[in-house]
């Protein structure tokens, strides 16, 4: 009796509330329902990676602190943006990507330690990370031992190939040869002066460049000088340049040294509009520090410039600026870092699995048509087929595209005749 009476007392509002509460479980059940076609976790993850029915975890491993932070921040931002965009499109195999960010602190052993933590403790399905060759060399044994998957964004010296790494930047021959060919043809250059920072990447790059100049272009290297990382005194080499009058100055000076180098070059009266200079180490990020007025006229050999005019890039640049601020600039490596999560997603979908072995096997042939640099494809050697481009630095810190190879350049990390 009393039950009957109470029923009658239910106000319309209360009734609505009750109905709303009844709907709560239905709502919480919605996401799995919408991913109904997602394959079962047991099928796509046979090696115990951090994959659930709704989520997959990846690692981001760059220097957020220390001297390299200035360079690596762009990569972190690009990777986060890519992950966000992939999630907005429904994720990978019906699973949202969750990331764990670790700080390599510009310290190579820390990179190794954090990589190990990501693989062993967090069981991440892939790691987007590393920047310097030293950090990659430190991380590589860890990746191979614990069978992880690393997407490495930086252009680098080559001489390496691993099942556990996808190199989304260019290796040395991809970056150098087409640029040298172009400048030899365009400027009739015969004599070259090499200046680099003193570590493995510039030394290997210059070794390759020297062989190419001497054996292929039949030119001459009139000087080759190295400066310690962080060095700021370039006056003696600038005097040598003035004495030898090379047709082309070819540089791979890295980091903060660039600021001093280009300022001193300008102060010494070397006008880059008349003296061709080809760099393989200055991107839009570095020009931010150097100042457009100090480097305007120099040629840079890269695969990506922020100013590239193609539909993909026209969507990418505004999205990046929207996420990270109007003033951010996008350099070559930042773009390559953006490719990492996308290539991983496409490979996972091709393999139909998150298992590292299957991804490593499925990687060759994976193509990404939405890359800001244009079309890229993964080669058997886990490097990317991509175009080489030459740009000329402008006063506003951007590059003007001068030349690009007609076809994709094949990656060749162990170039015959160049070692």
């Amino acid at each position: 009796m009393s039950d009957e009476a109470n029923k009658g007392l239910l106000s319309p509002l209360r009734r609505k509330l009750l109905m709303g509460m009844a709907a709560v479980p239905a709502i919480t059940m919605l996401p799995p329902a919408s991913f109904a076609q997602a394959p079962a976790t047991s099928a796509v993850n046979t090696t115990g990676l951090a994959v659930t029915d709704t989520e997959v975890t990846v690692g981001i491993l760059h220097s957020a602190t220390g001297t390299m932070a200035i360079s690596e921040t762009g990569s972190i931002e690009a990777e986060k943006l890519a992950i966000e965009q992939i999630n907005a499109m429904g994720g990978v195999l019906g699973r949202k990507i969750k990331f764990i960010q670790e700080d390599g602190a510009s310290d190579w052993p820390t990179f190794a330690e954090k990589a190990k933590k990501l693989l062993v403790n967090d069981k991440v399905a892939a790691i987007m990370g590393c920047w310097t060759s030293a950090s990659r060399k430190a991380v590589l044994p860890v990746m191979e031992q614990y069978n992880g998957m690393l997407y490495y964004p930086t252009f680098y010296e080559g001489l390496e190939q691993s099942k556990n790494v996808i190199y989304t930047g260019q290796e040395a021959t991809q970056q150098i040869l087409a640029g040298l060919n172009w400048i030899a043809k365009e400027k009739g250059a015969k004599t070259f002066f090499f200046i680099g920072s003193d570590y493995i990447w510039p030394r290997t790059s210059n070794k390759i460049a020297r062989k190419h100049v001497e054996n292929v272009l039949k030119g001459k290297v009139v000087g080759e000088e190295y400066y310690a990382l962080g060095s700021t005194q370039f006056n003696s080499v600038i005097n040598k340049i003035k004495l030898t009058k090379p047709d082309v100055i070819f540089t791979d000076v890295v980091g903060g040294s660039n600021v001093a180098f280009y300022k001193q070059l300008k102060a010494a009266g070397i006008d880059l509009a008349k003296q061709p200079l080809l760099t393989i180490s200055v991107t839009e990020d570095e020009i931010d520090g150097i100042g457009g007025e100090n480097i305007a006229g120099a040629y840079a050999c890269m695969k990506y410039f922020q100013s590239l005019d193609n539909p993909n890039n026209k969507a990418f640049v505004p999205a990046f600026k929207k996420a990270w601020g109007e003033k951010t600039v996008i350099g070559d490596v930042t773009q390559a870092a953006y490719l990492g999560p996308w290539l991983w997603k496409l490979t996972v979908e091709k393999a139909g699995s998150f298992d590292v072995d299957k991804i490593a096997a499925a990687s060759p042939g994976v193509e990404f048509k939405g890359a800001p640099e244009g079309y890229v494809r993964i080669h058997e050697n886990h490097h990317l087929w991509s175009k080489t481009r030459v740009g000329r630095a402008k006063l506003d810190g951007q590059f003007e595209l001068i030349y690009e190879t007609a076809d994709l350049v094949e990656p060749d990390p162990f170039p015959k005749g160049y070692q």
């Binding site: 960010q101 602190a105 190579w108 190794a112 062993v120 060759s133 030293a134 044994p141 493995i200």
Partner: protein, 380 residues
Amino acid sequence: MTDNRFFNRSELIGILVLAVFLVVVLPLTLDVFRLNLVAKYLTYAFVALGLVICWGYGGILSLGQGVFFGLGGYCMAMFLKLEASSVENTKIQSTPGIPDFMDWNQITALPFFWKPFNSLTFTIAAIILVPGIFAWIIGTAMFKRRVGGTYFAIITQAVAAILTILIVGQQGYTGGINGMTDLRTLKGWDIRPDHAKIVLYFFEVGCLFVCIMIAQFVRHSKLGRILVAMREKEDRVRFSGYSVANFKIFAFCIAAMFAAIGGAMFALNVGFMSPSFVGIVPSIEMVIYTAVGGRLSILGAIYGTLLVNFAKTSLSETFPELWLFGLGGLFIAVVLAFPNGLAGIWGDYVQPRIDRLIASRKSKPDGWTDSSVADGAPAE
């Protein structure tokens, strides 16, 4: 009964507690990955232990312990690198059979000073002797001329900077800024898998206790007392007829050798050695470990090292972009509030309470014997 040439009773309890902590508690509670991290932290504990003798007791502040850590580490790494660079492993190179970084730098034959490192016996001797002799040379040059205090600290910093530049610059011979990576086996025994990490951890803990015993012996010997006397009033010791310089050189050499053992352990446990452990910044960090733990306490320095490194790892994992501020805050707090570090907190606040507790127990003899207290068993 428990007072001897190594330790008194409370020190014995402290060492036993540390032993239980390192040998039983940590291996049982941590997975292999975290245990390997502890092994890495403990490599710095060797350095901190050396600093207690050299700085805490001898009053010689060295800001260049990274040099000796690095020398020991590089000696070990050279041996391991040679073993990892067998002709078979390196056939992809232009010159197979030499370390990969030499090949990249167009070196075609193994340099002469690398050759002895094919022998493990030579390597072990080198780990102790190279830094020991180097410290003896620096010590003799400085202390015989009565250079001390701040000037000595500055010179050790300069040495650290010089060695870093040398290693980075001579990359064909040293691996440059990349360091020596991809160390794999020790006499054919793979040092990378989990079970090897556990063996290496216990081996390292064993070595650490040997070093603790040496430190305790120095501390309780007449030598230790002279060191303290020197720290407090150097001239008085000199006028009493002691050769102050020789004692200082001795303390500095001991600290250097401890640091070198730590470095060698680092190369073994981490599988890696690079100039980033040699320079000024890591050297100062090592002094900070000792300061946080308490520079007068052998055990305090070890706990301090563990604490700081643990904080470093966990803060950087939790706050990848802000962790340095947290760590900096920790240092400032410790130095401002507790100038004698963790050991100071223990000695000033905890120990007196325990003593009082024990004293009050002793005053009522019914049922309580000395032995139960000596075992450190908690009451009831």
